[in-house]
Subunit: 101 residues, 2 copies
C-alpha cells in the first residue's frame, strides 16, 4: 500500500455517506434483507440508492470512489450490479493507519 | 465527536505531509533533537518547516488544518509557536474509525 493509495483510501472515507455504505455492507442481512437475489452476490446498487435516499447518479459516484479505493468490489449479474465489502482491504487500511499515527 | 468533526479529522489526514507531521510529533526527541527550547513546549514551527522542506506558508496551512481537526495544539512562547500532538484526540479518532468501519 503506497502513500498515494493510502491518500485515496482516506479521501474515500471523508464523506459520511460512503462510511454509511461501508457500514451497511458489513451486515447485508441486517440492512438489505428485502433483496430478492441472494446476498452472497453482494447488495444491488438500487437498494443502496434507496437506503441513502440520494439519486442513482450520486450514489453511483460514491460507489465508484469506494471501489477505486479498494474498499468494495462489484459483480455484474444480468443487468444488475452487486456490491460487497473487501474486509481484508479495510482491515489492512486500519492497521496501516493505526501504525502511522 | 459529530459526523462533521469526523469528516474534518479524516480530511486532515488525507495529505501525506500532515501524516508525517503527526508522526514526527509523536517522538519529538527523535526528530527535533536540535531544538534549543525545551521540547516540553512542543516543536517550533520553524523546525517543522525545515523538516518538510516546504515553504513556511504551506506548512503553516498544514498545521492549521491539523489544529482545526483537533490533532495538534499550539503554544505561543515569545515570538515562537510550538506545536504538540493531542494523543488523546488521535486515539479517540482511531477508536471511532475502527468501530465505524
Amino acid at each position: 500500500m503506497g502513500v498515494t493509495e493510502l491518500d485515496e483510501m482516506i479521501k474515500a472515507l471523508s464523506h459520511p455517506v460512503r462510511r454509511d455504505i461501508l457500514n451497511w455492507l458489513k451486515q447485508p442481512s441486517q440492512f438489505f434483507s428485502d433483496q430478492e437475489h441472494p446476498l452472497s452476490f453482494g447488495v444491488c446498487a438500487g437498494l443502496i440508492d434507496q437506503k441513502t435516499g440520494l439519486s442513482q447518479s450520486t450514489v453511483s459516484a460514491h460507489l465508484a470512489t469506494l471501489q477505486r479505493a479498494g474498499f468494495i468490489s462489484s459483480k455484474k449479474v444480468g443487468q444488475w450490479n452487486f456490491f460487497s465489502r473487501n474486509d481484508a482491504a479495510i482491515q489492512q487500511f486500519l492497521t496501516r493507519l493505526n501504525e502511522q499515527l
